[in-house]
Amino acid sequence: MVSQKVTINNPQGLHMRPAGVFAKGMAKFDSDVTINFNGKATNGKSLLNIIGACIKCGSEVEIQCDGADEEEALKTAIEMIESGLGE
């Protein structure tokens, strides 16, 4: 299992569009992807649960990947978040 902390910079936080981009990107990996935020673990492949986690702009989250392709999944996740998730 690998993990890394990252800050969300989307002006309105992880709402529908950026969360959709993230969930879709993570669906390609076999590893389980978890977003740890505010003491709660959220399935990083579930758009509904990411939106429901109410992650606001400026929040620090921990991305955790577990599985055969965990290194690559984590690298992709961090790159996607840092480049603004299409916004």
Partner: protein, 569 residues
């Protein structure tokens, strides 16, 4: 009369057609063949995804890309592995039928979203509800309501208009929309605006109050609705409808035109915004730039100061949306009257005369430096200009400029891009700044007159106090003299002078501002075309004559009466 949210402007008059969803009742009994039931669910999900995608494609073609976005979001939601997994679990563990599993899990997410008090989350609850209905219809093999064939002059009345219903709407036949739920950003609202159908949303119980065939009059600008109005009222609204359409057609001619007087004197016409996402609306409404971007929202409703990174992202987004057009960003303008717990500002007797805006920012460098640095970094992505609020003396402007010079050195050392020639101007909203305008004009790169506060501070009046609110008017000769001297002082030094207060959109004041030589008008996005038209009606010579006369008058009432008597339409 019933009042709701005016979500799509215009007047609609027609006969009510009530849209009711067919019953989605099902026989809720335990299933014995779990695998067969899971297969039913999987097939329904696949069908639903295909159908929603087809609806999105159709919407994109008929209405627009933005309107299709909600439906594309539904496709993503339908592919959520956690949601579909929970539905399967309900079938396997609780022996639920597919319908019950869909209902249970969708209800869970709707509950989760609707418990958050925020319009964006309410919209997500609506999305999940739409998906639930669509899935149940597929499972139960129920047809969608077909709105393609309603007669001409129909006012649609529904609890909510779902994307599946609106797919077939013909704007030629539908003259209005009324619903019980939905806000300005709901699917119904977006669609109504795109199809230019007047709509009033969120009228509680409206489907019970109206019967099929009732005569309905609705005002989508004001959010009002009348059922079976008398002839007089109906005639009144018929007139309003014609006037609205004429005005709209007249303004449409001004889209894409330069903003200039009748004799060709060009001015810049920009818009005021409060959030980065409003920038797109400015572009859509044909604004030539942003004359005031208030940054307070970035600092409100949060536990700590926004980071430089976060601010940079917001400023960059606006600069990029405007594609090189000017963007004037006002630095933080708060004081003891705003609730910002992490700033720990003391309550004071007179917050509007106290520790606020630039006075606060210069003492709190931890607050100000990250904002200025973020602005400098964002200036590499467009024509960003920095505006300092509530300036009263030259030292304040100099202090800000020094800080900016230091930050530029820092960025240079770090190898980060920024605009070396970024303009730094001031908002003129205090009598002190107005009286010293000739001095400020030598050191500021531009002025923007904030008439709302300038009027308040000049007349020493709190507009919120009903006893004295009558004094709050930009037609007061004192305020007009102040505006005139600021514009002339700025122009004498060759700097840009704009106005971002409400007065900039006042057609009565247009000839005065043109005559004084103002270069830039900044108004709300929805006032852009009307302001462009207002400016185009005057020649410089006519404006000079009106200004000379108006400035010779001695009371507010005389000025207003005179400006009204010479107003052009």
């Amino acid at each position: 009369m019933y009042t709701g949210i005016g979500a799509s402007a215009g007047i609609g008059i027609g006969s009510a057609v009530i849209v009711k969803e067919p019953s989605l009742a099902y026989d809720n009994k335990a299933v014995s063949d779990v695998d067969a039931e899971k297969k039913r669910l999987a097939e329904a999900l696949d069908k639903c995804i295909a159908k929603t995608q087809a609806m999105a494609d159709d919407m994109k073609e008929r209405v627009g890309e933005k309107e299709a976005e909600i439906l594309e979001g539904h496709v993503l939601l339908l592919m959520d592995p956690e949601m579909t997994g929970q539905m399967e679990t309900s079938i396997a563990d609780d022996k639920m039928c597919a319908e019950a599993a869909v209902e249970k899990i969708c209800d869970y997410y709707m509950q989760m979203f609707s418990s958050i008090d925020d319009e964006m989350f309410q919209q997500r609850a609506t999305d999940v509800c739409d998906i639930k209905t669509r899935l149940l219809k597929i499972l139960l093999d129920v047809e969608d309501v077909d709105l393609a064939n309603v007669p001409e002059g129909t006012v649609l009345v529904a609890e909510d208009l779902t994307p599946s219903m609106t797919a077939g709407i013909n704007p030629k036949n539908v003259t209005g929309i009324l619903t019980e739920v939905g806000g300005k950003t709901s699917h119904s609202a977006i669609l109504a605006r795109a199809l230019e159908i007047p709509a009033v949303l969120s009228i509680p119980g409206i489907t019970e109050k109206i019967s099929n065939g009732d005569k309905v009059v609705l005002d989508g600008s004001e959010g009002q609705t009348y059922i079976n109005p008398d002839e007089k009222l109906q005639a009144e609204y018929e007139q309003k409808r014609v006037a609205y359409l004429e005005e709209k057609a007249a303004l449409a001619q001004f889209v894409g035109r330069e903003t200039k007087t009748a004799d060709g004197v060009k001015v810049e016409l920009c818009a005021n915004i409060g959030k980065p996402e409003d920038a797109l609306k400015v572009v859509e409404c044909d604004g030539e730039g942003i004359g005031l971007f208030r940054t307070e929202f970035l600092f409100m409703d949060r536990p700590q100061i926004p980071t430089e990174e976060e601010q940079f992202a917001a400023y960059k987004k606006v600069a990029e949306t405007l594609e090189g057009k000017p963007v004037i960003i006002r630095t933080l303008d708060v004081g003891g009257d705003k609730e910002i717990p992490y700033l720990a500002l003391e309550k004071e007797e007179n917050p509007f005369l106290g520790f606020r805006a630039i006075r606060l920012c210069l003492k709190r460098e931890d607050l100000y430096r990250p904002q200025l640095k973020a602005l400098l970094r964002a200036s590499a992505y467009g024509d960003i200009r920095i505006m300092v609020p509530m300036v009263t003396c030259l030292d304040e402007l100099r202090a800000v400029k020094n800080m900016i010079a230091e930050l530029k050195e820092e960025l240079k050392a770090e190898g980060v891009a920024y605009d070396e020639n970024i303009k730094v101007g001031i908002m003129i909203e205090t009598p002190a700044a107005s009286l010293m305008a000739d001095v400020f004009a030598k050191e500021a790169d531009f002025f923007s007159i904030g008439t709302n506060d300038l009027t308040g501070y000049t007349m020493a009046v709190d507009r919120g106090n009903a006893e004295v609110a009558y004094l709050y008017s930009a037609y007061n000769p004192a305020v007009l003299r102040s505006i005139e001297r600021v514009i002339k002082a700025g122009r004498a030094e060759g700097i840009m002078v704009g106005m971002c207060g409400e007065a900039a959109a006042d057609p009565l004041l247009a000839p005065l501002l043109i005559s004084f030589g103002m270069n830039e008008f900044s108004v709300s996005a929805t006032s852009i075309l009307a302001t462009r038209k207002g400016i185009s009606l005057w020649t410089k010579e006519e404006a000079d004559a009106v200004a000379a006369k108006a400035m010779s008058l001695t009371t507010e009432a005389e000025v207003e009466a005179y400006l009204k008597s010479v107003a052009k339409h």
